[in-house]
């Protein structure tokens, strides 16, 4: 699965730590998701979508 997390974060000038704190997860989690090493659970994907006020499919896309 691909995602636009890094781009969305950069548009807001947030560091990985900033995004992690907003999501209530570790910085390692954000890094792993951004680099495609880890696909988040559906609840976390919804939290990410809510934070950016976007539908999930606008952030996460199929390979």
């Amino acid at each position: 699965m691909n995602n636009r997390l890094k781009v969305l974060r950069a548009e807001r000038n947030w560091s990985q730590q900033d995004l992690a704190e907003r999501l209530g997860v570790s910085r390692q989690s954000v890094n792993a998701i951004e680099t495609g090493k880890y696909d988040p659970s559906l609840p976390l994907a919804f939290r990410i979508a809510n934070l950016f006020a976007l539908p999930i499919e606008a952030i996460f896309t199929r390979d």
Binding site: V25, S26, Q28, S29, N31, A32, I33, T35, K37, Y38, P40, S41, L44
Partner: protein
Amino acid sequence: MSARKSVYHRYLGRMAVATMLYVAAIFVAAKTLHHAAAISPMAIGLALLPGLAVLLMLYAIARLLIELEDEYLRLLEVRKSLIATGVTLAVTSVWGLLEAFTAVPRLEVFWVFPIWCAGLALGAVVNKITMGSAGLM
């Protein structure tokens, strides 16, 4: 202090207590009992003390997995435990077959837990390579 750090601190605290108890109990048992000492309540009690420490270590690992709310960090720890279990099963099963059919030295069951702990370390390396982060060391 974040909830995540306090989870790690509680884990490290439990492991520190269990490790100190393990080392002390092994030392006392080794100094007090000879190998294959006659069965007595005191001998059994002293020999079981390190086992209690091992149970405490397993409890600490279980609590870590239960208390970790960050799903990615929890995944890293679960992967380490699975890899450690696989390593332990592989080593003990293969060695057991060697013992059954050849004259290789007997592997004491005592070594099962240390082998599992070595498997955790290997799991951390595999995590670092494949997941980008080792998890808690």
